[in-house]
């Protein structure tokens, strides 16, 4: 339980939304949430305002809060921006790499390798996140790191779906290899290019994602 109830609630409700416990379009009643978490309406409202600012819910004046349903098209747009930001992070990382970042990336990369070989999709999902975060950090741009982390969180559930697609685990890992090579070689433009296509959901990847979303 974070320092104040509002932030704790924000995380709690955010997780509930991202894990699809609160479905898109669902209305979030302040009183229901308050009694569910055993608090008053005030911190609930604060949490909702923050989620609204993040873009997870929409608050229509005097009409309450509803979970936003991004829809395939908007999800595509979000991945498009994510790809661009990660590309930038990669190119900066390649230019600015230091010993600590190099180690962090190497470690995360090795963990991904193990999970991929074991075919453990859940483990890879987690390790993959650490890998990408290591690249954000290696960019040595705090603002970029924040933006990437925030967007990554919003896209988390869809990234998870992506990994369920057949052979995606090994494909993903082999792409990681190229990215690591480019960054370690100091080739910023190559790192950017590889990360963009790794993160983006061009062509069949997009239809794969839509298909996974439907069969959920």
């Amino acid at each position: 339980m974070s320092e104040n109830v509002g932030r704790w609630l924000r995380d709690e409700i955010e997780n509930a939304i991202l894990s699809n416990e609160f479905a898109p379009g669902e209305r979030l009643d302040e009183m229901v949430l308050a009694s569910r978490f055993g608090v008053s309406r005030t911190p609930v409202r604060e949490a909702l305002m923050q989620l609204n600012a993040i873009g997870l819910i929409e608050i229509r004046p005097r009409r309450g809060a509803v979970v936003i349903d991004p829809g395939p098209h908007r999800i595509y747009e979000m991945f498009e921006v994510m790809a661009e930001l990660e590309g930038l992070a990669g190119s900066l990382a390649a230019r600015r790499l230091d010993q600590a970042s190099r180690q962090a990336i190497t470690m995360a990369h090795k963990r991904c390798e193990q999970s991929a070989e074991a075919g453990d999709s859940d483990a890879y999902y987690y390790d993959n996140e650490e890998f990408h975060k290591a690249i954000y950090a290696a960019s040595r741009s705090e603002f970029l790191e924040e933006q990437c982390t925030q967007l990554h969180r919003r896209l988390r559930p869809y990234r998870r779906l992506q990994l369920r697609v057949r052979n995606r685990l090994t494909t993903s890992f082999s792409e990681h290899c190229g990215i690591v090579d480019a960054i370690f070689a100091g080739d910023g433009e190559e790192a950017r290019r590889l990360l963009r296509s790794h993160v983006g959901i061009q062509g069949e990847r997009f239809s794969d994602l839509v298909a996974s979303m439907a069969t959920r």
Copy 2:
């Protein structure tokens, strides 16, 4: 006065921060704000939470809110990300341009030309904003447009400072010409490249900005 007091206050306080009425580092006392705007603490708190989410202020638990002081380095990082996003917007605009967007860009571009020729820095500041927004819209990616608009707002005061630099008006406008040409020619990669260097603050532009900030 927007539909609810909270949002109105958010805009009000945001403007006060961006126009430097509330200086970076300054502490925002909830009671003071409440009495200043003639409301209770509740909507003030809601406004502060939103500003916190936007990244304009920092709320430390039980210790109140302070206006964030970005500092030159962080501002540089923000422009770096902004350049990347605008570059993406430009490349998408070049590929997806339709008649309406083309007209909007042309009009904004002409306005910029007039203001630049008149040497009217304030008018150019406004027209320039419209020009960039027209490109965001032309990207036909709502999410990207939102992200660009939001970041543009946060950088607004510094963009304004930039324009004060000698000859920056004409330089800026001639860069616009190239950007418009590339977009209208459907050359996405050229548009991206030009926008990146137009928005970014590499080299002497950065020191110019820092210098302007100091003499404010």
